[in-house]
């Protein structure tokens, strides 16, 4: 008997020591990171309930929200496309790529992470037409070089260890072999920088769409997402149609949960809110923005018992806590034809069959002990174990009573038989008798005995003998002797909620930003220019890209001191100086909105980003920041939380991937 493909993949994964070490590392670090991050959100349980309600409302009224979102995006001059299925989505993107190509050659595409692009197998389709697509997320770049699919929703190279990445970069890129993660990261930064600067089209995924404003939101750490949406002339945002929230306030709620669940961060380094293409007077930002809204089975899923799976915000927390994922990684979730499911892990075992068919992926739902760790970890409270049992019962193709999707014939037969025995006390008792007889013949002396591995159970466990006298034979229905009841226990009071230290906003902001590696300098308004000039001179910077004007800063004093300032994007400049629309104390975040004189690239291309932040602009929370009227008004905004970073290789935190390696904030008091 040959093992089903899934089981042979499982065996291969379990016996791969390097993979096991990588997956153990992921589980341990992600789970503890997530736990620590939620400590800073004392009301997370209540938020999780609200988030569930928001997502339930969106999916319930999806048609209305999609219409509202599309109307607002179109009003913002975004070109909106709707794709019923994967083939349509691919052909729309192909057309945009071809019309964006310069004369005489195919378009070059810089791509940031998008799980929908995996679902519709976009890269293959583009490459077949001779269009070069370069994945720019470090993890995605690695798996693309290896010709693999991502092994995790948010950590694509979770299955690899540093020596494998070192070997890969040596083989494919001709770099000297190294296992030093910062060196490997720096190599990717250097190579991909050229791609960003020369790409004709940038493709990005979408974490959320905001219906009330038509805003596209992306959440990234490395900066490649900003590059792909800011530098190439055309930007395509590829989005599953279910990824909507009604309002910016709902977005704030989701953003308090997504990064904590995904990577254990209070906020990811770059949260972009994109409204429109570049506007007159602006020097950067894509000139043309397309939005491709993909259905590809979502409408069908929505009217099925698996509807709740559409609430998912793709944080990957359920993968990190899953004891099965921890053993096998993302590549072992294979369909009946051997192809790897686009969405792995617990949520993937619902979404993959839900979108792409039970025939192909339904059996994945049996690869779960229904332990419920996934449900516990889900930031939007999806009842994953329940949905897994629904997939097993027929899922999106109707819970026909006889399904048992993915069961072996033997298990199916045994359980049918058990259905008959278990509903008849007489048959049940008779079976106990014969079971007792049989197991005592198989094992004459011991209560536990060995059964063959092919039974499944016998692979790692002995089996118990049926009791010689069952409980029902031994139970004595006698009346009890009354006995004094022990006193009720003293109920200990619940532990007091941890009081968040109510620091003044500037202190709180400083503490949070410094924890992320940001250099914070607090200066009096009168000394800002002088301090900045001294710092720049000490760092040997004679030129910088700078906003014009910057609130609180006298640019003419910098120029007079011999520091050349330019407003044009220049990849050679090492320093960018910006202002900020606001600071957010709870996360140490800068809010930057684009506009004339406020290029986005000043906080993206240079190695060092210097921001001038008047203390009066520091707000308490993300909710307050997202209620500012300039967010829906600007062509794009970005929330910056620390320097560019990645943990894509062995979960080792590495600073300075594609965006600035250093962030310096001058708080002006």
């Amino acid at each position: 008997m040959t093992l089903p493909l899934l089981r042979s993949r499982i065996r291969a994964s379990i016996s791969n020591a390097s993979l096991q070490a990588a997956l153990d590392g992921n589980a341990l670090r992600r789970v503890s990171g997530r736990d620590a991050a939620f400590e800073s959100l004392p009301d997370w349980r209540e938020r999780r309930k609200r988030a569930h309600a928001v997502r339930a409302d969106v999916i319930e009224h999806l048609d209305e929200y999609v219409d509202q979102f599309i109307a607002n995006a179109a009003r913002n001059d975004v070109i909106v496309h709707r794709a019923q299925d994967a083939a349509t989505a691919v052909s729309i993107i192909l057309q945009i790529a071809q019309s964006s190509a310069p004369p005489g050659r195919q378009a070059l595409i810089a791509k940031s992470k998008s799980m929908v692009s995996e679902e519709i197998e976009l890269n293959n389709a583009l490459e077949r037409r001779g269009i070069k697509v370069v994945e720019t997320d470090l993890g995605e770049y690695i798996v693309q070089l290896r010709g693999e699919k991502p092994a995790h929703l948010i950590t694509p190279a979770v299955h690899l260890r540093r020596f494998e990445v070192g070997q890969l970069f040596h083989d494919k890129l001709g770099l000297p072999y190294t296992e030093d993660i910062p060196t490997l990261t720096a190599a990717a930064r250097r190579l991909l920088r050229d791609v960003f600067l020369t790409a004709d089209v940038g493709i990005s995924g979408v974490n959320f769409g905001v219906a009330e404003t038509g805003t596209v939101v992306t959440v990234t750490n490395e900066g490649n997402g900003r590059m792909c949406t800011t530098l190439p002339p055309a930007h395509i945002a590829l989005m599953g149609m279910e990824r909507l929230v009604p309002s910016l306030q709902d977005l704030a709620l989701m953003l308090s949960l997504l990064p904590r669940s995904a990577t254990g961060q209070k906020l990811t380094v770059y949260t972009q809110l994109i409204n429109s293409p570049r506007r007159p007077g602006e020097v950067d930002g894509a000139r043309e923005r397309h939005l491709v809204l993909v259905d590809n089975g979502r409408s069908r899923l929505r009217s099925s018992p698996l509807k709740e799976a559409l609430y998912c915000i793709r944080c990957g927390a359920c993968l990190n806590v899953c004891p099965v994922f921890r053993e096998i990684g993302g590549h072992a979730y294979v369909g009946s034809d051997g192809s790897i499911a686009p969405y792995p892990g617990p949520i993937g075992s619902i979404v993959s069959p839900g979108l792409l068919g039970l025939q192909q992926f339904g059996h994945l739902a049996q690869a779960s002990s229904l332990c419920g760790a996934c449900k516990d970890a889900c930031p939007v409270d999806i009842d994953l174990p329940r949905l897994l049992t629904r997939v097993r019962a027929g899922g999106s193709e109707g819970t026909s009573s006889e399904r048992g999707v993915g069961l072996s014939h033997l298990s199916r037969f045994g359980l049918h038989l058990y259905g008959i025995i278990g509903s008849s006390p007489r048959l049940f008792t008779i079976s106990q008798f014969f079971g007792g007889l049989a197991t005592r013949i198989l094992s004459t002396s011991s209560d536990w005995f060995r059964i063959p591995a092919l039974t499944g159970w016998g692979y790692s466990k002995d089996f118990p003998r049926v009791a010689s006298k069952s409980f029902r034979q031994r139970f004595q229905p006698s009346e009890p002797l009354p006995e004094a009841q022990p006193a009720p226990p003293a109920i200990s009071p619940p532990p007091a909620a941890v009081q968040e230290n109510a620091l003044p906003l500037v202190e709180k902001f400083t503490r949070e930003a410094e924890a992320l590696g940001v250099v914070v300098r607090r200066v009096a308004a009168a000394h800002l220019s002088e301090t900045l000039i001294n710092d720049l001179k000490q760092a040997g910077a004679a030129e910088a890209m700078a906003w014009d004007p910057i609130e609180g800063l006298d640019r003419s004093r910098l120029t007079a001191a011999g520091i050349a300032l330019t407003g044009e994007p220049d990849p050679l400049l090492k320093v960018g100086i910006t202002g900020a629309a606001a600071g957010i104390a709870e996360t140490g975040t800068l809010l930057i909105t684009s506009g004339p004189g406020r290029p986005l690239t000043a906080s993206l291309l240079p190695d060092v980003h210097i921001a001038v932040l008047p203390a009066s602009l520091i707000l308490g929370s993300l909710e307050e920041a997202l209620s500012r009227p300039d967010i829906p008004a600007a062509s794009a905004s970005v929330l910056i939380t620390g320097p560019s970073r990645t943990a894509d290789i062995e979960m080792a935190l590495t600073i300075g991937v594609h965006g600035p390696k250093q962030v310096v904030i001058y708080i002006v008091e």
Binding site: I10, P425, S460, A467, F471
Partner: protein, 245 residues
């Protein structure tokens, strides 16, 4: 006097009758009248979890009928089976005007054993005695599915003479998962080894659980590896008196 209808579960009835007997002894010692409806079989969880809902329904309907004729609270020595009745019956009979209300009324008077002792009988110390170390493994459907964790720990903390040692990675699944342990033996085995490794690290000779399925799985794994540790059901610990062994 409280009237308890015992739903002893198919596994305890068939493989571990001593667990049921201990449970009866503890309940009677606390003054409850314990009855055992003789027609009972199983809650229907094995086919339900496998996705065979028609088979599950047949068994579940039988269970509902059996306990409808028995007044009092239904008490179960298994978090998993209590979870099946409390949460999955509503799923199984969703939209069924006849059976859903009947299922719900059974669910409303169904309790897991430790939950019943602590939350209904308000007992925290049953007067049990145990010599030596104990380690508690919170089974998945008990602590995640039903939210019952404080109760068994409270009861164990009050066992005289016992030293309760914390189990590392206690909340991780032992790898049983019903049909999962048969359909995916390799995965089940890995999870089992991890759990056994964590048990060994405590040095405790005894692991306590509140589920016969997990007990069978863990004990089967220990026997296969010829390890000396014992897995016991919490009822057996609570039934243990001074001087007994």
């Amino acid at each position: 006097m409280r009237n308890v209808q015992l739903f002893v579960t198919c596994l305890v009835d068939t493989f571990f009758p001593e667990v049921g007997l201990s449970m009866v002894a503890v309940l009677r010692r606390l003054g409850a009248a314990v009855d055992f409806p003789r027609d009972q079989t199983c809650c229907g969880q094995p086919p339900f979890n496998a996705g065979l809902r028609a088979d599950a329904r047949k068994i579940a309907e039988h269970t509902i009928r059996t306990f409808e004729g028995a007044a009092g609270e239904v008490v179960i020595p298994s978090g998993s089976c209590a979870h099946m009745i409390r949460h999955n019956y509503a799923e199984l009979f969703a939209g069924d005007a006849i059976w859903l209300p009947r299922a719900q009324s059974l669910a409303a008077r169904t309790y897991e054993f430790t939950e019943y002792l602590v939350d209904v009988l308000h007992v925290s110390d049953v007067g049990a005695h145990w010599d030596g170390a104990l380690t508690y493994h919170p089974t998945c459907h008990l602590h995640r599915g039903l939210g019952i964790d404080r109760q068994p720990r409270l009861l164990l903390d009050n066992v005289h003479g016992a030293e309760v040692r914390a189990l590392p990675e206690a909340q991780d699944c032992c790898g049983f998962g019903g049909i999962f342990s048969v359909e995916h033996p390799e995965l089940s085995a890995e999870m089992l080894m991890r759990k056994i490794g964590n048990l060994e690290s405590t040095g405790s000779p005894t692991l306590v659980v509140c589920d016969a399925g997990c007990l069978m799985h863990l004990q089967g794994g220990l026997r296969r590896q010829k390890l000396p540790q014992q897995v016991v059901h919490i009822a057996q610990v609570l039934d243990h008196r001074y001087g007994a062994r």
